[in-house]
């Protein structure tokens, strides 16, 4: 099957795009009328680097590619708008696999209100999915960058962390999950294979006074450093306040790892790390709760630089260098 035939089949499966889209897939470019500010992010997944075809169905790979891109829009507090996909197809990926991968993208696109309106298909030595996403807000000031954290702000985290890296360990060595309930192990594997971008929580935080925000793709330790550096501040994190996913402690113990080190070093949780003035925390937590997840206070923004994750006794926790997919 040629590129054009595949693209025609893909287009036939696309739902009607949103009202801001004036010309969808199939021309030289898609035409939109944003009507405000846009946030645009690109993100690429490559087989063997960000996923493994033996662990993930094509639909899961498509889902993860769009999810990790949308997570960047969540971290801006933007409303998802359009997505564009570049698919690099190796010779051993057949037409059905390609279409199933696209179905994985289209399903999450529909669930998140994203219109898939453009793309390119090419041969490639390894399955590659590069995703461009465009989000919207009425004004640029309504979006949240990494750079606005101020000394005295509260540092908070949506949901739970450590699940994606625990799920990866359970995929690599299934016996590590022998001590947790089957449903828990399944949920941890799903956090690795089918991450969910925190779009509603991101919008709630943007509307709730967030001064800086970033999504956890590289891991709390690394992403906190990015936020601190962009804002020109330091971050003090209380290790025992970190909300760990159910089953992370058991899988870490089975692997001979410290659960907090593992969770702080493991990437791909796609939770939101956010700073906001202390007096706005309770209302923001309530708004995030309405979006279906939690907001946990994990530390404080301080003058200075760098990130310290402090254990109850006062010692510093060093996020594990973990040989993860990322």
């Amino acid at each position: 099957m040629g590129e054009f035939e595949l693209l025609a089949k893909v287009r036939a499966r696309l739902p009607q795009p949103g009202p801001q889209v004036r010309l969808g897939s199939g021309d030289d470019a898609a035409i939109t009328v944003p009507g405000g500010a846009t946030a645009t992010s690109v993100d690429a997944l490559v087989d063997g680097v960000h996923f493994r075809r033996e662990w993930s169905s094509p639909a899961q790979i498509g889902h993860k590619a769009l999810a990790s891109a949308l997570s960047d829009l969540a971290a801006m507090g933007a409303e998802p708008g359009e997505a564009y996909v570049v698919l690099g197809v190796p010779t051993d990926l057949n037409e059905d696999d390609c279409l199933e991968l696209l179905d994985g993208i289209v399903e999450l696109a529909a669930a998140s209100g994203t219109s898939l309106v453009g793309g390119d298909v090419t041969r490639a030595p390894a399955l590659t999915v590069a995703m461009t996403v465009v989000g919207h807000a009425p004004e640029p000031e309504q979006m949240v960058a990494r750079a606005g954290a101020r000394a005295g702000d509260v540092l908070a985290l949506s949901g739970e962390i450590g699940g994606a890296v625990a799920g990866l360990l359970a995929l690599e060595r299934p016996q590590l999950a022998a001590g947790v309930a089957a449903a828990t192990a399944e949920r941890l594997r799903a956090r690795q294979l089918e991450p969910r971008p925190r779009l509603a929580a991101g919008r709630a935080l943007a509307g709730g006074g967030a001064t800086a925000m970033i999504d956890l793709s590289d891991g709390l330790g690394g992403d906190a450093r990015h936020l601190a550096a962009a804002s020109g501040v330091g971050l003090q994190i209380e290790a025992d306040a970190l909300p760990l996913d159910l089953g992370v402690a058991e899988i870490a113990a089975a692997a001979g790892r410290d659960p907090l080190e593992l969770a702080a070093g493991g990437g791909e949780d796609y939770e939101l790390l956010v700073t906001l003035p202390g007096e706005r925390f309770e209302a923001a937590a309530a708004a995030v709760s309405e979006s279906g997840t939690t907001l946990t206070r994990i530390g404080t923004v301080v003058a200075g630089e760098g990130v310290e994750i402090r254990l109850p006794g006062g010692a510093l926790l060093e996020p594990a260098g973990f040989d993860q997919l990322s």
Copy 2:
């Protein structure tokens, strides 16, 4: 060198972005305020499929990736705005090569008024450059899709064709270029390795009454069919009106190929194929001429479907199926 170090070095080389960019590279997403309609296109180049590292310098690969993406904006008549790059880096591409590739992108970006404001870097088994470009126009109606051609319109072509495929032949078998001047052979190779998007000509045509437009990436034969199908019309092309690049006839002859078949079948010329009402052709040609290239009338839009390329004696020319890089 890690991804973050490379990205920091890249950002340090970027010129100041345009005024529509409110937040450039380095955050979760770039923020822009388009102020009208946008045209967005994605395009990927993969080593061994769209270029060969033994023929192209890293700067030429970066240039070609942006040029082929911007050509889609030229075909909409849009003003170039922002670009986002995904770089898939194999282990044998070193840091200097990466930065030279980015320099190739940045140079064309600056020359074309495009702001490079985001990107992603990942490991990959083969050098991959996926480019997203966003163009602008005050109103969506000022952009030109493929679908507006009407029976009776003139069919016209910017510049000359056949140069990119002749340049490819000259790269594959240098002896084929023995019969042309060295400067001509060099110019043909440059058409293959460093294509120039027809941005100014595209804007001139959009403002000059173009009813449909497409850029020639797959070759005149194939791209004319795309335009005809999108518009629901037929296209009659006069083969002896086709403007061939200097040296194409000689290289085709040396390769034992018919020059017109070669030029009509060869891709990557990135010229614009456009339809417009006959009474607007002369003024449009004058406007294109001011942009530094030519506009040649090559045929007519007719009722019906499909594309016929007719030789002077009345026989039909079949664009060569050419085993090209594409």
